[in-house]
């Protein structure tokens, strides 16, 4: 363990660290532009819902407020926060503004991702007006971050003859809608991504963030991106790639070749695993040890947010789970994939993780 590493451990978060931050002890040598270690917060899927007047659904408000309050307790502070999409439920200015007002209490910068609930009312106009472009990249301490809008769909669906824009929004807002349409990144953004990555050294760790998973899990609920393989192909030449996504409201992780995948919890409400829908097949990554089933009395049970420890270009996801046991899914250097640091072995798993 290097001196530098120990320093980091020592200051690795008075709060979280208090015995709970099992940082990898392995320093991986990168090239001359070695990435530094740092942390960031990852909050997603708040689904702020306007009822009428000044009324918003309290339950969803409370979820976002809690995530923000907890993120603000972290010491040292996360370098920035990623917001993983679906700030709103029906994409209205009232919902987006209210969500952003709550997020204003968060210390530090926030990078936003577009979710389908933010998009299908006005095709993202108000969101972009408030937050800027919906796909972009940035560099931080030797890591290249890319944000994509992965929730666009085929023009024939988007531009069909809707009664109102809200009618379209409501169709897409229904997760299990048989009349929905699959998400995708689309050719424009894929071409942009190809060009963006041209400038990046293949040894530079990549973190790609989208709302829907850039892997195919279950089409019926859009736990799916139609052009996932095309995007994965663009990421393939890089030595270390992590894809982070929201949308699924549950713990998921996977490894496909060089790409590690991690999903975010929602701050609003949890979703069952697609495998629990007995009428259809789904493709849940085998690696994933599922999150606990929720007790709906405790409105925050099985909701949460993530604290991410970026070390040696790897991502360790610390799931912060109110009313529940926190989980850590960390990259295992030896095995070359993420794994739960406590529950990965079948013998360690607990009854609430058994979904049926």
């Amino acid at each position: 363990m290097s001196i530098k590493r120990r320093d980091f451990l020592k200051t690795g978060g008075a709060l979280l660290a208090a015995g709970s931050l099992p940082l990898s002890l392995v320093e991986v040598a990168f090239g001359k532009n070695s990435p530094q270690n740092f942390t960031f917060a990852f909050i997603s899927d708040s689904h702020i819902t306007h009822i009428k007047g000044n009324e918003f659904v309290r339950n969803w408000d409370m979820g976002l407020k809690r995530a923000i309050a907890e993120a603000n307790l972290m010491t040292p502070r996360p370098d920035f926060t990623i917001y993983g999409g679906d700030i709103a439920q029906l994409g209205t200015p009232e919902e987006i503004d209210h969500g952003l007002e709550l997020l204003g209490a968060l210390r530090g910068d926030v990078r936003y991702v577009m979710g389908e609930h933010d998009y299908y009312l006005d095709l993202g106009d108000y969101w972009r007006k408030q937050l800027g472009p919906d796909y972009y990249s940035f560099d931080h301490k030797g890591v290249h971050f890319v944000v994509l809008n992965s929730i666009v769909t085929y023009d024939e669906w988007t531009h069909q003859d809707w009664d109102t824009p809200m009618a379209r929004m409501k169709e897409m807002a229904r997760l299990d809608n048989p009349n929905g349409s699959p998400f995708m990144v689309g050719p424009t953004q894929r071409e942009w991504l190809r060009k963006d990555l041209e400038k990046v050294d293949k040894d530079t760790p990549l973190v790609v963030i989208s709302h829907s998973p850039l892997q195919k899990i279950y089409k019926g609920w859009n736990f799916w991106t139609d052009d996932a393989e095309e995007v994965q192909a663009l990421l393939k030449p890089f030595r270390k790639v992590t894809v982070l996504y929201g949308h699924v409201h549950q713990i998921q992780y996977n490894q496909i070749g060089n790409i590690s995948f991690h999903a975010a919890m929602a701050t609003a409400w949890p979703w069952p695993y697609p495998s629990t829908y007995s009428q259809e097949a789904s493709y849940m990554p085998k690696l994933t040890v599922e999150m606990n089933r929720a007790d709906p009395f405790f409105e925050r049970d099985a909701t949460g947010w993530q604290f991410i420890n970026m070390h040696s270009g790897n991502v360790d996801v610390h799931y912060t789970l109110p009313d529940n046991t926190n989980r850590v899914v960390a990259f295992n250097e030896d095995k070359g994939h993420p794994e739960d640091t406590k529950y990965q072995a079948e013998a360690e798993q607990i009854p609430p993780q058994e979904h049926y």
Binding site: T49, I51, V57, R58, N59, Q89, R174, L175, D176, G220, W221, W269, P270, W271, P272, T276, Y277, S278, Q279, E280, R293, D295, P296, F297, E299, P351, H355, Y356
Partner: protein, 135 residues
């Protein structure tokens, strides 16, 4: 409908002992089709109620947490529900959800909407083995 089926079954049973000829109360393929259609109409009604049709006071709907009625586990009822402090039937738990996450008045247990919700929930879980009491 149920009365008629019961009667048909009972009569069929009784008749085997007596004479196999009388078929007056037997049901037909057409009956089966019709009854299934009747049932599916209620399932469709339930699906609508489940997806925002309950006009909940805070706009929250059942499907937001239970896409395709997953994690409702109709096959496990009756079972002990800590939120109710007793062994409860599915409709009691549906009402718990209506009163709590949806913040809306509960339905009468024989309200046609309650029947429709149960029809949809159990239809989405068809084929799954009964597991009363399971958690």
């Amino acid at each position: 409908m149920l009365t008629r089926i019961t009667k048909a079954v009972l009569c069929a049973g009784a008749l085997t002992l007596a004479q196999p000829a009388a078929q007056a109360e037997e049901f037909t393929e057409a009956d089966l089709k019709s009854w299934e259609e009747q049932f599916m109409t209620v399932v469709k009604r339930g699906e609508k109620l489940f997806h925002g049709g309950l006009e909940s006071k805070n706009t929250v709907s059942c499907d937001q947490c239970h896409p395709n009625a997953t994690n409702t586990h109709p096959e496990t009822y009756p079972k002990f529900q800590q939120q109710l402090g007793k062994v409860a039937v599915l409709s009691e738990m549906i009402n718990w959800c209506i009163e709590n996450p949806l913040e809306t008045e509960p339905l009468a247990l024989d309200d046609p909407r309650m029947t429709a919700l149960q029809a949809y929930i159990t239809w989405e879980r068809r084929g799954v083995e009964l597991a009363p009491g399971k958690h």
